[in-house]
Amino acid sequence: MKRLSHYRRHRFAGPVLLLFALFMVGTTFSVATASTRQSSSVLSRSTSIAEGQQIFLKGCSSCHGLNAEGTKIAPSLIGVGAASVDFQVGTGRMPMADMSVQAMRKKPAYNADQVAALAAYVASLAPGPAIPGGEILNYERDGSTAQGGELFRTNCAMCHNFAAQGGALSQGKSAPSLMGVTPTQIYEAMITGPQSMPVFSDKIITPAEKLSIIKWIKAAETEPSLGGASLGRVGPVTEGLLGWTLGLGLLIGVAVWLATKAR
């Protein structure tokens, strides 16, 4: 202890103590807020409507009503179709974590089989958009990247940004980034219009055009950053920030250095 106190007036003592304090606060916070993961019960493989109804009654009916007829706080699910359920539950948006601004993408609460059962149950209530898949979704074969880009810039970029990185909407809502979203989910979002997003029916954007959009998004996802670090692909804000910090910072640093050398 005495040896340690020897360094208390060292010029690095302050910064080191600050780092230590920050580290301790961070560790304490992460330990205190760490929650125990809930283990989801594994159901037997089943896509039957009855299984789905059971899951619905346990997990969804408190908001959506016992027969999915909707309540004051949640919409009716009659006629929303399997695609809507697959998107909302499959991306973890439903069940909602809280009733605040909008449902956020998170780790799904149900496994694939459970999602399929729920979708089958909701689809059985009334006809609605089905989950796209198989031959319908062969975007590599049936889509055109360039045409998809045009469609994306006309219909999607105003909310999702020119490079599908997401954008802000009013009152804290936002259009999410489309990086890492599966082709099925993109297609489902277009035909069901989750949350703030409008429905893009097959009359507005044909199925072939939808595949082109998906192909362009996938191309944008894998496109390497051609001019160096991408800076998030959000436009001039990050460029200005880097110019002022790194660029001008380096230059002023050099100016200080040049003036010091002369003394």
Binding site: G149, G172, G227, G228, G235, L251
Partner: protein
């Protein structure tokens, strides 16, 4: 004398006999400049401008300033077969097919951002140290002109590639032009040769961007530097430095070497940024069509504060005599910037009116010794910073999970409340620093050594500061406030009572300070 020296001498003599350059060079190469890192900020702007000229010339070799529609057949597959303007297609061609083209484009754009940033920090240095005072008022005005033109020039360059982001920017510029009462629509028709977007705009702004404005820039920069040369550079106060001399190093060889080296360093930093960080990836934005817009469309930072002002202004419009007056664009887009830049250009004259100081100044102020001016500068800086932050409100909202509406309300209230608070806080800090200087001169430096006196009292040992340091801390003037009685010394009534009251009030505010130590203070200390 060696053969080589003889040859050099012959050549030099040959040139001198025909030009008389020797006398001029002898005088000017030994010219002395003071040395300080903050005197090199303007140099960064100058060198960035040279980089802009060089890289811009390279880009014009392939850029096709035309809105003629073409079908893209180039290498970038995601745009293959898309209709676009020749301007956009040729920018893609420069980026992907010309060797070093993308690097040059990025150097040009990064240099533009650094050029504007360097101008702003140079301006702040000149403002906070009072370097704009007589006889340098004209050079201050030239500087404000360069800043204004830089914003315009940068915006035109950002608009030239005719990508989706450029077009969105031009559309907003058109809206700002149209918002001007009576003449707005006519000017917009004239600028675009008809309706937006038309086919005339890109070729026109190309001429302005590469010919007209660079020409004006060169002329103004030359005048700017010649005035510095003629009036000599200012210097920071210190022992041996007066209003009538300059302490520093000669141009040749010290500053030739330094400035030359610094140019290459600026070039190096710009090239480094351009090599590692993407800027304005126009191929991602896509070609401009008026039907499209992207989330998060932003101008470059030097326009960002204007965009932020427009974004925060409440939607107010007036309909009168069959015309619409869009105050929501007119005030933040035209009137506020107009007031700011006019006020900035006239500031040297306003300050000299307030202080009544008509003398020449070559010694710089330490910002703390002029609390009112420093506080005013920080106030203006706070205003533009809040506006700039609001310009990026959508990006901030999505990156930090905030509500865009909350940020807008923060900005709306903050832009009115924060600048006055910044003024008061800065002024108090300046006065506290003056007090600290006074303590330092009177009582010396705190050594941290504690001494126990025989009777048990503990005292800290203070070490007197060097006479040089004490001189630097006390050399400044502390003028008294102007006395502007309604009746002057000759018993004649002074005209403009209200204006005089205002002037006297401002003079009182400008001269508020902590008295610097004088000889009597020191004697009193020694007496203890």
């Amino acid at each position: 004398m060696t053969a080589r020296e003889r040859a050099a001498g012959t050549v030099a003599n040959y040139v001198d006999e025909r030009t008389g350059a020797a006398k001029w060079l002898k005088k000017n190469l030994t010219k002395v400049f003071p040395d300080h890192w903050s005197f090199m900020l303007g140099e960064i702007a100058l060198y960035s401008f040279i980089i802009l000229l060089l890289s811009g010339t390279f880009l014009t070799f392939w850029f096709d300033p035309s809105q003629r529609e073409v079908l893209y057949q180039g290498d970038y597959q995601p745009l293959s077969g898309i209709k676009m303007s020749a301007a956009y297609a040729s920018t893609l061609h420069i980026s992907f097919d010309i060797r070093g083209g993308l690097l040059m484009r990025q150097i040009h754009h990064w240099a533009a951002l650094l050029f504007m940033a360097a101008i702003v920090v140079h301006l702040l240095r000149v403002f906070f140290t009072g370097a704009f005072r007589k006889p340098r008022e004209f050079n201050w005005i030239i500087g404000v002109g360069l800043l204004t033109l830089g914003i315009v020039e940068g915006f035109l360059g950002y608009s030239l590639p005719d990508d989706l982001l450029s077009g969105t920017g031009i559309r907003i510029a058109e809206a700002i032009i149209q918002a001007m009462p009576i003449v707005g629509s006519y000017i917009a028709f004239f600028a675009f040769d008809g309706l937006f977007p038309g086919e005339a705009f890109i070729p026109r702004i190309f001429t302005v961007h590469v010919l007209l404005l660079p020409g004006i820039f060169l002329a103004l920069i030359t005048a700017h530097l010649m005035l510095v040369w003629y009036q000599k550079h200012t210097q920071y106060p210190g022992p041996g430095r007066t209003e009538k001399n300059i302490v520093g190093y000669p141009l040749m060889p010290v500053y030739m070497a330094k400035a030359g080296g610094f140019f290459f360093i600026v070039f190096g930093v710009t090239a480094f940024l351009s090599a590692v960080a993407s800027i304005n990836p126009i191929w991602l934005y896509g070609p401009y069509t008026p039907a499209q817009v992207s989330a998060g469309s932003q101008p470059d930072w030097y326009m960002g504060w204007l965009d932020g002002l427009v974004r925060m202004f409440p939607p107010i419009e007036t309909h009168a005599f069959g015309h619409t007056l869009s105050w929501n664009i007119l005030i933040p887009g035209v009137i506020i910037p107009g007031i700011l830049f006019t006020g900035m250009a006239l500031y040297p004259f306003i300050e000299s009116w307030i202080t009544g100081d008509k003398r020449e100044h070559h010694l710089l102020d330490r910002p703390r010794n002029v609390p009112n001016r420093t506080a005013l500068g920080v106030m203006a800086l706070t205003f533009t910073t809040v506006a700039l932050l609001n310009g990026g409100n959508d990006i901030i909202a999505i990156q930090f999970n905030l509500s865009i509406n909350q940020i807008m309300w923060f900005s709306r209230i903050g832009i009115l409340v924060l600048p006055p608070i910044a003024f008061v806080i800065t002024k108090r800090i300046c006065l506290s620093l003056q007090r600290a200087d006074r303590d330092l001169v009177l009582h010396g430096r705190e050594t941290g050594r504690l001494l126990r006196l025989p009777h048990g009292e503990f005292v800290e040992v203070h070490e007197p500061i060097s006479p040089e340091r004490a001189w630097t801390l006390t050399q400044h003037e502390q003028p008294n406030p102007l006395v502007l009685n309604p009746v002057d010394d000759h018993g004649v009534r002074r005209p403009g009572t209200l204006l005089n009251k205002l002037r006297a009030r401002m003079s009182r505010a400008a001269t508020e300070q902590v008295a610097k130590p004088n000889g009597e203070d020191l004697k009193e200390i020694e007496h203890h």
